[in-house]
Amino acid sequence: MTGPHSAETGAGAAAPSAETWELRLYVTGRSPKSVRAIENLQLACEQYLPGQYRIEIVDLLQNPRLAADDQILAVPTLVRKLPPPIRKIVGDLSDTDRLLVGLQLRPRKGART
């Protein structure tokens, strides 16, 4: 479960600005919300970060004390570890717009980038 879900790096894009997004998704077992979050995340990444992302899934039921260490109170929680700064998106990621805002893949409406 904890193995990184790395997709193929987007060699085709080869954009100079291209960098690998390191994402970590905290879930609790195979709960419906957890399953939904994994699916939603993969879909979004394929669409907006093709070949540019690596997903690590952490199951807090396997290691509950990690919640305290990593400061994860709610699940699912998606943490953008790279690029900095760290961002956290809480929820099953069903709201794609909010997900993109959270990942700063799309500027907030009327907000500064």
Binding site: A74, P76, R87, V90, D92
Partner: protein, 582 residues
């Protein structure tokens, strides 16, 4: 009214706890609170502690955990959303709570979550399953029986979806109940409801409200049990205090009047004052010493303490105006060394600035001092400074409680208070005391002198006369005042009058002596004259006798002559001759 009520409530709590099916309770480690709640918080359920910022919610929760871990054999878990674990430990270390040691002994686990709302974006549904899993793991690991959440309001701020937070918290409390864990949840006091986010809807077994009021710069902390399902509880507002021993609740709201009334007299340390009071103060009675500035009120208190300590009794000196150093120095100047009693462990001084503690807090501290130290005598020096802040009624009620507390403990108490021109400010308090001594300044001839009089002394004969109160380098002494046609005379004027009187006395003595001398001389003269007269008298008597004797002899001689002549003439007897003669 309210005060009478409080006592009834409290008794009914204790009675109620005895009869009927008893709700299992978890002691809080705060004795006063355990008394109010009849044993503690509902065991296996959750209690909401709500209050404003700095009202002591966190501390109450922590004390509950520490008491459980240390005294009840109930390990606990702290989940804090406000501070780091290190900060929590550091904050309560000064209160004598060694959280680190408890954690090492696996009696306590602290989980600190720092949630930055700015860091979080919400996308879709979520739950607090990690918290449940973490708690489950911890409870299992250390056998936790108590869990404290501090403060859950942070969660409402951190996650935009309030409905989810609400539902998850509700689920959390049910979950705790299922595990028979006693929970304490702290929440921010709301404008309209008990809490800002209506947590009381989910935690409804027991609700405790903490209040921190500022009145004219004097803070007052109060605690109230708003709700306690299935248990009787005291409903009044109870003063509490955050002391160096943690949370202290004082469940006193009433003035009970059932004290012992010992007959024993306690010397005041000023011999003549004892005399004025027909032998001293009754043990356990309350004395008020009122007077204007610099009339020697504190000195009188110091005497009482000195006398008590000299008898080997413990004394408590509560200073509302001065520091212990100040009073030490001042009393040394009148020959009273209080410092040695402090060193001997017989005297405890406590400088209580009203503005620093608040009235209720002072009461709580006083209660603890009485309990811990067990003084026989207490002096509350400068209670007038209490009147600076809050309304008179509050002060009077607080003083009444202080006196009540001391009296219930059998402590002989002397309270000194500053009066200004009018004595009305002390009148309210004076009805609470057994003896009222008034110190006055009398100004005349460019100097001020002190007069002491006994205004009242319950159950005891007492002098109705004023005495001059003189501060010497051997302490206070009482001196008779000179009462002359112009009224009471004190100080130098008294000395002058006394000198004048001595002069007059001397002159009177001299006069008397002279008169005596004169009279004595008169007597001597008269006696001399009398002797002369008596001599004259005797001489004249002698002369008279001599003349009479001579006359008688003459008559006899004449008779003899005549007889001789008649015989010569052969005359008839005298009778014959005589009859013949005409």
């Amino acid at each position: 009214m309210a005060s009478g009520h409080g006592r009834t409530d409290l008794t009914s709590v204790l009675d109620g706890a005895g009869g009927g099916p008893r709700l299992p309770k978890a002691p809080t480690g705060v004795r006063g609170l355990d008394e109010i709640t009849g044993g503690g918080l509902p065991r296996g359920r959750s209690t909401l502690v709500t209050g404003g910022t700095g009202s002591g919610k966190t501390l109450l929760g922590l004390q509950f955990l520490v008491a459980g871990a240390r005294d009840e054999g109930e390990p606990g878990v702290l989940v804090t959303f406000e501070e780091s674990a290190e900060k929590v430990s550091a904050n309560v270390a000064s209160l004598g709570f060694d959280l680190d040691a408890l954690q090492r002994d696996r009696l306590l686990v602290v989980h600190a979550f720092h949630i930055d709302p700015a860091e979080i974006v919400e996308s879709g549904e979520f739950d607090f399953e990690p918290l449940f899993a973490l708690l489950d793991d911890t409870i299992e690991r250390i056998g936790a029986k108590r869990v404290v959440f501090d403060t859950v309001d942070v969660l409402f701020g951190a996650f935009p979806s309030q409905a989810i937070v609400r539902a998850e918290l509700s689920r959390l409390f049910r979950w705790l109940e299922d595990r028979a864990v006693t929970g304490v949840v702290t929440g921010e006091r709301g404008e309209n409801g008990l809490t800002r986010h209506g947590i009381e809807e989910y935690v409804s077994d027991c609700v405790i409200v903490l209040d921190h009021r500022m009145h004219e710069e004097i803070s007052t902390r109060r605690l109230r049990v708003v709700k306690y399902r299935g248990s009787v509880h005291g409903t009044n507002e109870y003063p509490f205090l955050i002391s160096e021993h943690g949370f202290v609740v004082l469940p006193i709201t009433s003035i009970s009047l059932d004290y012992d009334a010992p007959e024993e007299r306690l010397p005041t340390g000023v011999t003549r004052l004892d005399h004025m009071l027909a032998g001293g103060l009754f043990r356990g009675s309350t004395v008020l010493v009122s007077g204007m500035a610099g009339t020697g009120k504190s000195t009188l208190g110091a005497h009482l303490i000195d006398a008590a300590c000299a008898r080997g009794e413990k004394a408590l000196l509560v200073l509302y105006e001065e520091s212990p150093e100040q009073i030490n120095r001042n009393m040394r100047s009148v020959g009273l060394d209080l410092g040695r009693w402090v060193e001997a462990g017989l005297l405890r001084m406590w400088a209580a600035r009203p503005t620093a503690f608040g009235l209720e807090a002072q009461l709580a501290i006083l209660a603890r001092l009485i309990e811990e130290f067990g003084p026989a005598v207490a002096v509350l020096d400068g209670i007038a400074s209490l009147m600076h802040g809050p309304t008179g009624l509050e002060v009077t009620s607080m003083l009444a409680r202080q006196f009540d507390l001391l009296k219930a403990a059998g402590v002989t108490t002397m309270a000194t208070t500053l009066t200004h021109q009018d004595e009305s400010s002390t009148v309210a308090v004076s009805s609470l005391v057994d003896t009222w001594l008034l110190l006055r300044n009398v100004e005349s001839d460019g100097e001020r002198n002190r007069l002491l009089s006994v205004l009242k002394s319950r159950g005891s004969a007492h002098s109705n006369q004023a005495r001059e109160f003189v501060l010497t380098d051997r302490g206070a002494e009482l001196v008779d005042v000179y009462v002359g046609p112009a009224g009471v005379v004190t100080g130098s004027a008294r000395l002058v009058r006394e000198a004048q009187e001595r002069g007059a006395e001397r002159r009177r003595g001299e006069e008397l002596m002279r008169r005596r001398r004169d009279l004595r001389r008169g007597i001597v003269e008269a006696e001399a004259r009398l002797t002369v007269l008596q001599d004259d008298l005797a001489a004249e008597r002698a002369e008279l006798e001599r003349i009479e004797m001579r006359e008688q002899r003459q008559v006899a001689d004449d008779e003899a002559d005549r007889s001789a002549l008649a015989a010569q003439r052969w005359a008839d007897p005298a009778s014959y001759g005589e009859g013949e003669r005409p």
